[in-house]
């Protein structure tokens, strides 16, 4: 092989490097490492945080390209709208002076490592004042650590898993209610249908979850519910899949063999579309079909056709049918005026996360990070989210907590809220009428 022979060290000098000397060098470096002989933090200047700055810079990353690009773009709409509204009357009021807000948003390309590196750069180099989180649990889980390390208020509308908030972090706040609630709310609707005799008893459950904290919470929610309801439900398959999977045929073969009545999946938008396509093309049909929070998106309808998404059940963190009054109306109207389309829950969450942060800055009257953190911790404001209030209870580690709404896609293209009854805008259908026999 005439692969490179240049060694960097002439071989003639082999004998000069005596083993004993080498041992000394090695021993020395080992001692240095184990003794932790490293200078401690030299400079710890936070700048003069009490002075009123000329602008407030909020750092953020979102998946603007990559597998979650569509959702990332929607969160951006929410962030932009909230900040535009804030700046419309001069900005945030800091002790009598209006200070404009600037969003320094970078594209993390749906990549965990990049979400972390960009956050590090925004926080330690660009010295942004505050941080709005990225989208999807896996990325938020990685990124929130950077915020906590650097003690900067971090508000996100994209991380739902309880594990993010169970680490005792002091600087991380989330507007998404736990996924366990999501699973539980869906099961409550199913339970009603079962009680009404529309679904078999016991119902065979196929539980398919994304192998992330998000999916694990969903799984726990379903398991807790089925355990609490004894013999009414029987979990016949319990399998995980990788986030951003391309081929779900193996898992679907397993599901098909188990002959479930309820196909309970937790997936993100791209995986939902891919899996649903393969579900349809293998001619499967289950009495109830859900992908967790996904199903009612316009993108799914485009990709799968109306028939492809009919009767899919979903539970979401917000829906524009929640009420055409007050804050909700103002949000939907201004959203439509700016973007010309209806908002989905993604935009609503982005909007609420940004609004919670901006409100807290105004309440603190300062860009001092710990003052704003304290305000976030004690926040309790009127909100467009279900239940009408938004707070970050310390008992949940800074994760908001409110009920979900269950929707079902109908063949006419609508997705009415079918549960809970007090906000329902339509009647749910079970079992799935698409299935013959």
């Amino acid at each position: 092989m005439d692969w490179p022979k240049w060694t960097g060290v002439p071989l003639a000098e082999v004998s000069l490097l005596m083993p004993s000397r080498l041992a000394k060098i090695l021993a020395l470096s080992t001692i240095l490492v184990t003794a932790g002989c490293a200078p401690s933090q030299g400079n710890d200047d936070d700048g003069d945080s009490s002075a009123i700055p000329s602008k407030i810079v909020i750092g953020s990353t979102l998946p603007l390209t990559g597998s979650e690009s569509k959702t990332g773009g929607r969160f951006k709409q929410g962030y932009d709208l909230a900040i535009e509204q804030e700046n419309a009357d001069g900005g945030v009021d800091l002790g009598g002076k209006k200070v404009p807000v600037e969003l320094n948003l970078l594209d993390d390309t749906t990549d965990q490592a990049k979400a972390v590196n960009l956050a590090q750069r925004l926080i330690t180099q660009d010295k942004v004042n505050f941080f709005l989180g990225t989208y999807s649990t896996a990325l938020v889980e990685a990124q929130s650590t950077v915020a906590e390390q650097n003690k900067i208020p971090y508000v996100n509308g994209g991380g739902a898993a309880t594990s993010i908030y169970a680490k005792g972090f002091q600087w991380v706040f989330g507007t998404l209610a736990p996924v366990e609630n999501l699973a539980n709310t869906e099961m409550e609707w199913i339970d009603q249908q079962q009680a009404a005799g529309k679904l078999p008893k016991p119902a065979r459950v196929a539980l398919i979850w994304e192998n992330t904290s998000h999916g694990k919470d969903f799984r726990k929610g379903i398991q807790d519910f089925t355990r609490a309801h004894g013999t009414n439900y029987q979990v016949v398959t319990d399998e995980s899949f990788a986030l951003d999977g391309k081929d779900f045929s193996a898992i679907l073969s397993k599901v098909r063999a188990a002959k479930p009545d309820l196909f309970m999946v937790d997936a993100h938008l791209p995986d939902f579309i891919t899996m649903q396509r393969q579900y349809l093309s293998s001619n499967m049909c289950t009495k109830v079909l859900t992908y967790g929070a996904r199903g009612s998106e316009a993108d799914a309808r485009t990709a799968l056709g109306q028939d492809g998404v009919s009767y899919v059940l979903s539970a979401v963190w917000w829906n524009k049918q929640l009420g055409n009054t007050g804050l909700n109306k103002a949000f939907v109207d201004s959203f439509k005026a700016k973007y010309g389309t209806d908002p989905e829950w993604y935009q609503a969450q982005g909007y609420e996360a940004a609004r919670a942060l901006l409100t807290s800055i105004a309440k603190a009257g300062s860009v001092d990070k710990s003052k704003v953190r304290d305000q976030l911790a004690g926040l309790d404001i009127e909100s467009i989210l279900p239940g009408g209030r938004l707070s970050f209870p310390a008992a949940n580690g800074g994760q908001a907590d409110y009920p979900f709404v269950v929707q079902q896609n109908l063949p006419d293209g609508t997705s009415p809220i079918v549960y809970p009854a007090d906000v329902a805008t339509g009647q749910g259908v079970a079992p799935n009428p698409n299935c013959k026999g």
Binding site: S67, K70, S253, P270, S281
Partner: protein
């Protein structure tokens, strides 16, 4: 029993696609002794080409096959003439070509990122979600079409290699390039053609893959690996070898759901690869040449 039947037919359908996917890699290795690490990149690029033709001009993915064959034949010949030609032959060249073609893969990936961003794409034909029921088991229409096309393509290739002068020249070069020169075969032209043909086959696999899976610029890595597995399993030998290798992999993957969690299905191939390489040191390919 019904279940086993369904899985077996699925495995056969999958094997057809796998065979088409692996053949390009095997052909190039057999004739040039070069592992084309850009194989996965070509598959990805072909998926994008198909998607563009479908989205922009409404060309059905299967109609796009001739276009893809021509485009990727030209690209492959270009890569050979522009890059691979300059590498030394023999073991040194083998390692260098690995890294060189790996560089080419990175470039192809980057071009795809620049043109189409990293967003996930899929081709939504009207029949994408249709299925056919045979003996009470349902099979996706696209998978059946992909299988049929793959089989036809492999048969045509077999005829090309066994019945034409060019094919005989390719096999001769694979066996002994030196005596070919003596026999008056233009070895260099055969190599150009082979690299082009191997790349075109990867392109075909890309077209077929685009109708089965969602893809993004990093698509193709798993396909490249599976192609290796197949070649290692079946030996480079012949259509039969490739088909056998593809069947072994497809059946192992499909039936693995009885043994391992579906999550680990794709690991089955990789483990198989390592085990076979270790049990048959020196690899299975290269021992039997095209016959």
């Amino acid at each position: 029993m019904r279940e086993v039947f369904t899985l077996a037919v699925s495995a056969v359908l999958l094997a057809g696609f796998y065979a088409a996917m692996a053949y390009g890699l095997g052909l190039i290795y057999g004739v040039l002794r070069i592992v084309n690490l850009a194989h996965g990149g070509i598959i990805m690029a072909a998926a994008y080409l198909t998607w563009q033709l479908f989205e922009r001009f409404g060309v059905d993915p299967y109609i796009a096959i001739p276009v893809a064959l021509v485009v990727f034949f030209a690209l492959g010949a270009g890569i050979y003439l522009g890059l691979v030609r300059f590498l030394p032959r023999g073991p040194a060249g083998a390692v260098q070509s690995l890294l060189l073609l790996f560089g080419v893969w990175l470039i192809i990936r980057n071009v795809a990122y620049l043109l189409f961003t990293g967003n996930e794409q899929a081709i939504h034909t009207s029949y994408a979600t249709r299925s056919v029921t045979v003996f009470g088991s349902s099979f996706s229409v696209t998978r059946i079409l992909v299988f049929a096309i793959a089989v036809v393509a492999l048969l045509l290739l077999h005829l090309l290699l066994t019945r034409t002068y060019l094919g005989k020249a390719i096999r001769a070069v694979a066996q002994n390039p030196d005596s070919c020169t003596l026999a008056g075969i233009d070895v260099e032209r055969v190599r150009i053609f082979t690299f082009g043909l191997g790349t075109a086959l990867a392109g075909l696999a890309g077209v077929l893959a685009s109708t089965l899976f969602a893809f993004n610029p990093s698509f193709g890595a798993a396909e490249l690996l599976k192609s290796f597995v197949i070649i290692v399993l079946g030996g480079l030998g012949s259509i039969v070898g490739i088909a056998l290798g593809a069947c072994v992999l497809a059946f192992a993957e499909v039936f693995s759901i009885y043994v391992v969690p579906p999550y680990l299905t794709s690991a089955v191939g990789f483990v198989l690869l390592v085990v076979v390489l270790v049990l048959r040191p020196g690899g299975l390919f290269g021992q039997r040449v095209l016959r």
